[in-house]
Symmetry: D2
Subunit: 474 residues, 4 copies
């Protein structure tokens, strides 16, 4: 009997800190050996001209989820097909939506949707909308059951929590050992500006960016950071969209506050000008926070290099464009404020970053791995099982051809929606094979994974001194 | 015949990004396998209760070197004994001192001193003092021969280079692919303040700190950074001593300049008050830049966490205290300006950082490895051979007992000087075994390495887009 | 008939920009001539050894006002006696308290209290607590009637406005031409911390400072500034208490936002240690925001010099100490949260600033005049009638003996309360005579003014490009 | 006999802090009365529709001076005609040029040139080029004789002082009570970049801006500030040209250092694009520092409002354009490095600022007076005699028609050169009459002053706590 189920031979292995050539020996879905030369295996893959990276960890994506009036187009099956196609092997989606009943009911429902459907492993952030004593007790139980991160909104109608509610959530997070994540935009200001714009008849898609200028995000970031300081608990700020917000994060880190933050491809590759495309086309690019300017894009690259921003997630929130249940649900003449928010990005995230980040010299390969796999795994309690290539870790791996030239199309994304905001981009570098726990789930554009292979990842208590190196961590 | 010369079993391996349990298989001095369980070896070490870390890389230490009027006490043999005792397996010392003749002569002399003496591997920075066309040509040859880093002084008498000379050196570094390192203090201001203090009869050791306040360092940092921006070439700033200088580095990094920086234990653990100890005792703590305040110490820890500072070196520059050739060479009533600069630190560096950094929760273990081994190895072109635990790397390893309690004494340091500035500190955590290329060079306080085992490490062209993740790097 | 009612001869006149020697000719309460030598007058005052300054403008004081559960001890008569004693000739108090009925009723009541009582001129800020359409209409009428400044609270129970309400007020202010002033502290955080402290039995006066750390003020400042940016309207931030809040103001000014700010003597001369005086004594120093640290005091002096802070007001809010209606209303064992907020300062403001500011070299004389008279007069639409010495201005003047040594006592303050927080301070420099519209209202400690002399000062539309030089103004 | 030699009736008087309507009574060249209505005078001027401002103080202009290889075109007569035409009544030029012999000889020569020629009053900064003991002694004598400000260069060939020399000068300034002014650019970097550009054949005028990018100015500003901190002496930084340098000044002010700074019209109204005009035309705009970008212009306006920059001078340094002794002295194909630096601006300074600053709402009228008259007068020891309208001050006055529309032409400038860089600009607001010590020197474009009316202004010891309000001052 062969010592290994699978050996990947002769690839160039990249972790968040190292780059070296070795064989990888896999047994029972885990990495059990790394060596210059390993013995025979039941199955072998030649990776001679390939980079072998840890599978991507996408710590922020919306799957099979009610989003206000709209509903995401992707099921766990289509979303994780898309993930696999793009080199991502772990997704963290959301549960706890108010429409789904009690926290317990919602969680049960989310698990039911994912089980048997997912091609890769998954976990959940719990959305907080009820901060009554009962609501907090239900959250505490959810945390104890391995849902170790909470999501709060500072905007979006009745989802928006006030400062007093936020402080209750932060206090719970500290006691129960969960990490709080936040959508930070000032709700009152957005409501005020939206009303003013609509009253003036300024309802085209481009006014979405004027209804939520970066100042409303900067304000909410600073407020959230202050509340976190007062409660003495770390916070992860989602989807930082430009310089002013990133600067708030950096100021906080500089005075010693444990604030973590991510950005997403839409803020690195889109601008508010995309909202101004002819006709209703701008709706394809409508997401919140709004895309900003080219200067903001450059600032975000800078903050990725500096470590201010430690994670790149997709914030995949996909609704179909040409669909009465999707972007057009309120009609093509609807105000920007009636259009479902969100863009797809699960499959595009890694190829975009690899091509425009690594291959254009903005970040190096190890930083790519850190931002897209290692850091989110550590931050959300998935390390050392996910996010790296090391003895004992799950054999979630991606083989990259760093020179492959690919024109991005929606079809390549393998998702359930009818567009990608990055249609037509010419990329260099592509994930040619994706493995989840030692099984090939995608190869050369073909999905080979099986619905149901993916499993729920319960997470242990959040370690306040982060268990390993994360930019800005104590 | 056993597959491995040596297997280290069951240790907890720590790299700059990962922590996991595995066996390490070593052959011909290199790491050839990592696995849950390796087969038999000629020799085995049980590391069950041990952390196994990459051996320390000390990228800034002065060995067997003329330092102005004084001479370091340590030979390559004693210095590398001390290194081994403290868990350090690579040292970068200096060559090119003006007293040693031409650059070529000096390099030949330095190699002669090190060969046959060193217990661990070594390399050299080349001090620049002659920027004439001939001087630059000699440097270019030295760089081509694998001495890929230059050291410039902005102070210290005739060693100090002016701005025009610095620009010539930076231009050479860009063309020839070398990294410039710098001692950044404003010479004219130090001369001015020293003269004023001496004229006023203020010559006690504590005035050393007033003769070179942090403003002179902040100024030189900003000037050096500006010259580096103009020449478009990275620079490593040595021994950042406090907040104001670190802030200059951080400002530069934030505007996208490739500036790297280190600090040293003397700035994390000593203050200017130590210079004011009774009698001549303060001379033991006299080094340049001067130790600062407790607030500066806290600031430096902050900048280590933020990534502003990416390396901790020792700046080991040891002269004996009670010795007419050492600190007392000008007598016990000498002005501070007559006392040889420098403190020993080769052996103390890692234990101090481990105890006060890792075990007190200021930095995590992976960051410890990054700061003391991985980052300096990458920055100075020694990666992937040194600075990490990975297939193909040299088997430079240190076994740590993270709970061992040790009282620091000069004797434990195994150096050639008669004191340590950290005498009596109670530490938790200790390097109990050090291996260089698979050979045990120190174990439980006993030096087992042999003079001559250590070899020169020539370094390849400096990669302007750094080959791997370094805080602040593109 | 003499050309002048009064001539003040030979004094050294000081304005916000100039210092020169001249005679001042006064007729009908106004300054009508300035000259090297003026002709005879009905009355003459020799000011040969005196500085002659514009009377102080105190743009933030609470007189005859309900403050939550407590009531200020001072009537308009006692408050303006105190003002006159301390060199202040214009006070801006508050109207619109919710306890006083509708806005119109409250304004009528405030006018009734002041008329016939005040010894010096006065005006009112209108407190905003009702932002319904009716409430805003009432405010618009009040503004049109010459009450050109609004006061909003971000904390203090039901006085606290939420962000949506603030945006409505700012929008009104922009349309109607009023200046919004604000008490900026995060209400939810204070409630949260107060509850936590009280639950832990930590109710001594010193915990007042822990229930409202500077972070809650910094947060509210930044939020208010952001809302002001969005509404595109200037705001005056009241009682900035330390570095972090001042830094927010400065950041905003640097990016071009029209944010003005003041500080008060209690933040320059008291610290949180005063709250920790033995027994119930600390209650004498309890005000909001809380006094901070010595480092914050130094930072505030710095920001006064830099122009970040352009006004020093008293925030006089005086309740008696040894009185069941005053500080002891909830008993001497009451929690800090039950003690009426506020300290007296109307009379102490100018002597403290003169002695510790001007005579100790922290600010110059012209800056003293700017901060205490000219800037508040300009900011609140009282210029050119008040706040300077110029042809046409009211003859509100103060003669200062810049070398007089005085020990501050509560009796000297001439107020209705039984203490001053500055009791026993040894000052150099004293206002020896105060004139309001040409009438002597105080001289050498004796009050000579008559109740009823003071008149209401209606104010014209706020000029968005400030009519004259104010630090940070467009 | 009339009480006054001259009364200016009914004008609107503007000072750095006040705006009011009054008559001005003048006797013996000084202001002796300000009143609502003054009695008869020998001569009267009706200023009913006019603003009456203090005459401009231009604290940085080069008159009848050798500037390296070139010579300024203006004599004291033509320069002060130009000053008078533009509303400026005090000029501070330079003496001490190395070409003029010893310091004493140079000063004697400068006085000889000015006496009998100047139409308005003048003073001198002394250029420092010899810091030997003899040189410093000569400077000390010059200071004692009323030349209370020194000028040092950090660039320009042999004029450039090194850090040690600068420290000697600062030490002298502190002891002798003089203010040091500085041209701050890094000499070595400019030489390096110029050589590189010329070697590459890049010699067109536009490369002037690339040979001295703002980084070289930022560096020199920070270095000068640090040296000033070490010597504990205030410094005035000349001609700040953009954001990065202004930010250095602001950082220093924020940490409490007494750093003052000016900018000039060329940095508010020109950009580096002007250097790129066709043919040799760009030479008209060539000055040092180089004009920057539009973003820098906006930043400078911001810093003027914030008080970072407290003075606007002309740095008038005029050479003829179409002249073999002027801009074309090295021919029209000369490298940028061979073209004489400097642009004319004595007459344009105030009209440009008034039109584009005051009338476009960027600064208010009082700030205009502060920046162009009051602040420079205070900073350079000319207050209270110059720079304001107050009893006892010299009757240096300018009547402005704030609505007059004028197209700027070189002829209107009344200077000795053949161009103005602002040719054709359409301005609103114009100085229609200028008086020096009560004498009309220019009126409606006609020069009425007499050569020889202008007198030397000796200056008293510099007051380290500035005698009156200056932004950033203690």
């Amino acid at each position: 009997m062969a010592e290994f189920d699978l050996v990947i031979r002769n690839g160039t292995i990249v972790t968040a800190s190292d780059t070296y050539r070795a064989d990888i020996g896999i047994r029972d879905g885990r990495i059990v050996a790394l060596a210059e030369k390993l013995g025979p295996a039941s199955e072998e893959i030649d990776a001679s001209d390939r980079l072998v990276l840890p599978g991507g960890v996408d710590s922020h994506c919306h799957i099979d989820e009610c989003m206000g009036p709209a509903y995401t187009a992707d099921t766990f099956e289509t979303a994780t097909r898309s993930a696999a196609a793009g080199g991502t092997t772990t997704v963290i989606s959301f549960t706890g939506q108010p429409e789904a009943g009690t926290v317990a009911e919602s969680i049960a429902g989310s698990h039911a949707k994912a089980e048997g459907s997912a091609l890769v492993d998954y976990s959940f952030h719990v959305i907080v909308h009820d901060t009554s004593a009962e609501g907090l007790a239900a959250l505490e139980q959810a945390i104890a059951d391995g849902h170790r991160s909470l999501k709060i909104f500072m905007t979006y109608g009745n989802l928006a929590l006030g400062d007093a509610e936020i402080l209750r959530v932060l206090t719970l997070a500290r006691r129960a050992g969960a990490l709080v994540t936040v959508h930070a935009e000032n709700n009152a200001a957005i409501v005020h500006l939206t009303a003013a714009l609509e009253q003036a008849g300024l309802t085209a898609m481009r006014y979405h960016a004027r209804a939520k200028p970066i100042a409303v995000e900067r304000e909410a970031c600073h407020r959230m950071i202050t509340l976190a300081e007062i409660a003495d608990v770390p916070v992860q700020i989602f989807h930082v969209s430009g310089e002013e917000s990133a600067a708030e994060v950096r100021r906080a880190q500089a005075r010693g506050v444990k604030i973590f933050a991510e950005t997403c491809p839409q803020y690195l590759f889109l601008t508010e000008d995309d909202l101004d495309r002819p006709g209703f086309e701008g709706a394809k690019y409508l997401c919140s926070p709004a895309p900003r300017t080219h200067a903001d894009q450059e600032a975000l690259w800078k903050h990725l290099r500096l470590g201010t921003l430690g994670v790149i997630s997709s914030d995949h929130a996909a609704t179909r464009f040409d669909d009465p249940q999707g972007k057009k649900r309120a009609g093509e003449n609807a105000s920007f404020a009636q259009v479902p928010n969100g863009v797809p990005g699960l499959a595009a995230r890694l190829p975009l970053l690899f091509s425009e980040g690594v291959n254009k010299g903005r970040i190096d390969l190890n930083t790519f791995v850190a931002l897209t796999a290692t850091n989110p795994a550590k931050l959300f309690g998935l390390s050392p099982r996910k996010g790296t290539i090391a003895i004992g870790a799950d054999a979630d791996l991606v083989l990259w051809d760093r020179e492959r030239k690919v024109t991005l199309t929606s079809a390549l994304m393998q998702h359930a929606v009818d567009y990608t905001p990055y249609e037509g981009m010419e990329l260099t570098g592509w994930p040619v094979m994706t493995l989840s726990r030692g099984q090939i789930v995608a190869a050369e554009g073909e999905i080979r994974g099986m619905a149901g292979h993916g499993r729920f990842l319960p997470r242990g208590p959040y370690d306040y001194i982060l268990p390993a190196r994360y930019p800005g961590a104590t």
